[in-house]
Symmetry: C2
Subunit: 177 residues, 2 copies
């Protein structure tokens, strides 16, 4: 099975708290195995771990990583690195190649990223060459390169499960073990 | 041509500033004609209008609308209304129907939405029945129902244009008129 991990660069505690949380939720929902946070923010870790506890699956969050070390390890393990921004090669021209990759690190920055990321990445990918939401970039990229239907993925071990409904909210509390 | 407008509910100035800006950027990038903001926040309007001025196109932002009035007007004009949340019918089961619709309002809330939106919407759509980023929900929905390749859309009248590049940033400043 394809492995995808997300690396979040340039996160500033407080200012980027909600955007980074949305990046993490999006990556989890679309099948990433975890998120590496290249900043120190235990609040992000807690809020995403709380989601995993209640909604299931095995998504992990690693706080305060060295991005260079993580990229080096990933590449040494045979992985590829794809950096999403508004400046790279447009996603439609690379999606087929990314889709073939079975071990992919997706890197997204906040407003500023360390310039060396453009060299460290195997691919610099633009998700449209327009002002950019990193949440949307992760969403569109992962949706387009997913195996099967990512929106039907199940998350084992959930305390809560939503039953799709035409009107209103239908949530099941699963019995504990 | 298909018309799509985005309606943003439940925006709280300050707390939701960046998420709502990302919702607007995403809607613009993927071809919405504008965003209706059902809260009063002129800062959002300014920052998105600034993007439009520099990066082109005709995306508009309407501040402090009445959501009920806007939905009523839209429906009277023959439009349909699709509310994205984590509770509705899963997107893969509705995307074909949404794609056929040539005048679509996409509604996204923040943490809380007025309950009547579930009744006012023609469709309540879940983008995966998992904890939810409204930015990702807009991105995936608009990408899946787009006509043609939304990431190759051009934005006329831009001061700045990005040239896709394998490494680094390549931005052209267009000559004024």
């Amino acid at each position: 099975m394809k492995r995808i991990v997300l690396l979040r660069l340039g996160h500033r505690p407080e200012r980027d708290k909600r955007i980074t949380t949305h990046v993490g939720l999006t990556a989890r929902m679309l099948g990433a195995e975890g998120m590496l946070l290249a900043s120190d923010d235990s609040g992000i870790v807690q809020s995403l771990e709380d989601v995993v506890r209640r909604w299931g699956g095995n998504f992990y969050i690693k706080n305060n990583v060295s991005f260079k070390q993580e990229i080096r390890n990933w590449k040494e393990g045979g992985g590829k690195v794809c950096h999403l921004s508004m400046y790279g090669v447009n996603l439609p021209d690379l999606a087929d190649e990314l889709k073939k990759c079975d071990k992919l690190m997706i890197v997204v920055g906040a407003e500023k990223v360390p310039p060396e990321i453009y060299q460290l990445a195997d691919w610099n990918v633009a998700v449209g060459s327009q002002p950019h939401s990193e949440v949307a970039a992760v969403a569109i990229t992962m949706d387009r390169i997913a195996e099967g239907e990512p929106l039907e993925k199940e998350f084992p071990g959930a305390e809560l499960t939503i039953v799709p409904a035409e009107r209103g909210k239908h949530v099941i509390e699963n019995a504990g073990e």
